[in-house]
């Protein structure tokens, strides 16, 4: 059984905003399947008493004090931007989204200023 379906690849491509052709969907589904099958082999040796690893180093509670540290100047901050206007990063408007996925819920329905 294949580890990832063509539909899932299409879904991932949409989430990543990648324009993937029908042909590429077939190719990627096959390639990703091989990768996922390989990774799935780890699951075969994982015992119930071994929790999934998210961090390779056993560290917890790395915190910093609430102290202001100088950051970038505005010129520095904007220097890497493809474009800027009114001291802000200028990016193409996301027009075809019927819903802004932002947690703020700002976007097409509101948030104009």
């Amino acid at each position: 059984m294949s580890a990832i379906s063509r539909e899932e690849v299409a879904h991932l491509a949409r989430l990543s905003r990648l324009a993937v052709t029908e042909e590429e969907l077939d190719t990627f589904a096959g390639q990703l399947d091989v990768i996922l099958q390989a990774v799935a082999r780890v699951g075969e040796v994982a015992a119930a008493d071994i929790p999934p690893t998210s961090h390779s180093v056993p560290l917890t509670n790395v915190l910093r004090d609430d102290v202001v540290v100088p950051g970038l100047t505005r010129a520095e901050a904007l220097s890497g931007a493809p474009d800027s206007e009114e001291d802000r990063f200028r990016v193409p408007r996301i027009l075809d989204e019927d819903e802004p996925p932002s947690p703020r819920g700002e976007g097409p329905a509101e948030g104009n200023a």
Partner: protein, 505 residues
């Protein structure tokens, strides 16, 4: 919507049972952002409070702010939550430029605080306080997003906009999200329970001193979930999530309007779609936002750049021991100290006068004296001006001073009101105003005598008539003094004038 005839509210709550739920975001008042040392103060020039971490530049690494973790644990403890012995941050991936990383660092299945409750008091139909226990599902920590501004397009309208301009000053400010469990069983009281919950939550967070929790400035924001099921049904209905609810009053209105809307849909055989709706302050209505059926898949996964949190139980115990008295219990104690019955205490609460009276009493006057001014004259003026009582123009210290002057017999009630008028107008402290206007009951002559002498000198004809026994003519002199002193006590002025002119009143 406009073609649908809404049923009456009473009718709706007779036939349907609402279930509500609230998700509240609180912006913490830490000095720095959640994962970097950029300052958080409000109102900087765009993109001046940013660094490689909050701009998501390659190679930068976030480190969690200890003060934010502590504040979140304290909120959790105040809401009777368990503090997770092990907790992780997660990436919430989405495609929108308000976060430069293309994801928000949040918490997913391992929040810091879980399973608590908050007792919320409302006024029952019999006028007695009624307690609702609102279950708290979770309290977790995440980061706020940047601000987007949409520009361009021929019409200049939002839907014609072609570009977004982004300011990342706000991106990365710590946000605490507090999620309730579903709240069934509130019936017709659902809207006021929702409002009472957010009010109480705000007061709790404020008492902890971890946020200024101002809804109008967006440091406290609320999403309201509402569903209806037929009365007596064991199953809950499909819920909607209303966003953009930006005041306590709107919380109440949003629940109510959503109950009415859903009932109208259900009455005509329709089905409620699980969706996000937007609340409109001006109309009190909600309109459809995005449908959850096509909702984004956030692809949560543990944040690899941050190590897990494992709060030391001893630290948590210390934080718990140091929690301040909770607002509801604090109010209960004040009510006893002030000797008020439930009804009178409710009036104080409704007027938003609890803290003001508390501070006035602390400034050295009696609870009764403090309450009289704040609930009487000052509430009246606040209502007239359409402002909050705290913004009426008098401070607790001034009110306490005023009442002390009354208690000392220097002002009677009527004169005190005149003095208060001066305080509100910004003329100074009660003592200063009393002296300047010559309002003291037992006149110290001084300023008032000078004003009287000036009036006599300026009106020799009238003064002569009064000396000749035409006492009634003194009225014009009284008027002149009242005018020059901007409202001295007429009786005092009159007797002063008569005695200066050698006539017995």
């Amino acid at each position: 919507m406009s073609t649908t005839v809404l049923p009456s509210y009473d009718d709706v709550v007779e036939r349907y049972a609402p279930v509500i739920g609230l998700e509240t975001h609180v912006e913490l008042g830490t000095k720095t952002k959640m994962f970097c040392g950029c300052p958080t103060d409000f109102g900087g020039e765009p993109n001046t409070r940013v660094c490689p971490v909050c701009l998501g530049l390659p190679g930068s690494l976030p480190v969690a702010n200890k003060a934010a973790i502590e504040a979140t644990i304290r909120i959790g403890l105040a809401l009777n939550c368990s503090i997770a012995p092990w907790s992780r941050f997660a990436r919430k991936n989405y495609f929108y430029p308000d976060m430069p990383k293309n994801y928000q660092i949040s918490q997913y299945d391992e929040p810091l605080c879980v399973d608590g409750w908050l007792d919320v008091e409302i006024v029952g139909e019999d006028g007695q306080p009624e307690l609702f226990r609102v279950g708290i599902e979770r309290v977790h920590l995440e980061e706020d997003t940047g601000k987007t501004l949409h520009v361009g397009g021929a019409t200049g309208r939002i839907h014609g906009a072609t570009e977004s301009l982004v300011d990342y000053n706000r991106a990365g400010i710590p946000l605490v999200e507090i999620v309730t469990k579903p709240i069934p069983g509130t019936g017709a009281k659902a809207p006021i329970v929702a409002r009472a919950y957010v009010t109480e939550l705000r007061d709790v967070v404020r008492s902890l001193g971890v946020s200024d929790v101002r809804m109008e400035e967006g440091s406290l924001r609320c999403d309201v979930n509402t569903s209806l099921s037929p009365a007596g049904s064991a199953e809950w209905g499909t819920r909607t999530e209303t966003k953009n609810v930006n005041s306590l009053r709107s919380v109440e209105r949003a629940v109510r309007s959503e109950m009415l809307r859903q009932a109208a849909v259900l009455d005509t055989g329709g089905r409620i779609v699980q969706e996000t709706r937007h609340f409109h302050e001006d109309t009190g209505d909600t309109t459809s936002g995005r449908s959850k059926e096509t909702a984004t898949d956030y692809r949560y996964f543990p944040e690899p750049d941050l190590v897990p949190l494992a709060p030391d139980p001893a630290w948590v115990a210390d934080l718990k021991a140091a929690l301040p008295e909770l607002p509801r219990l604090h109010r209960r104690r004040l009510q006893q100290d002030w000797g008020l019955n439930d009804h009178d205490m409710q009036s104080v609460l409704n007027a938003g006068a609890v803290e003001l009276i508390e501070q006035t009493v602390a400034a050295g006057t009696t609870p009764a004296g403090a309450r009289k001014w704040w609930l009487g004259e000052l509430s009246r003026r606040a209502n007239e001006a359409g402002v909050e009582l705290s913004a009426v123009g008098a401070t607790p210290a001034q009110v306490a001073e005023l009442q002390k002057l009354v208690d000392a017999g220097k002002l009677n009630d009527k004169l005190a009101r005149t003095v208060l008028e001066g305080v509100v107008a910004g003329e100074g402290s009660p003592s200063e105003i009393m002296a300047a206007r010559g309002l003291e009951v037992v006149s110290d002559t001084g300023a008032l005598t000078t004003a009287v002498d000036e009036a006599i000198t300026a009106n020799p004809d009238i003064a002569a008539k009064v000396r000749d026994g035409k006492v009634a003519a003194a009225g014009a002199l009284v008027g002149a003094v009242m005018k020059s002193t901007r409202g001295a006590d007429a009786k005092t002025v009159r007797s002063l004038i008569l005695s200066r002119l050698g006539v017995e009143g």
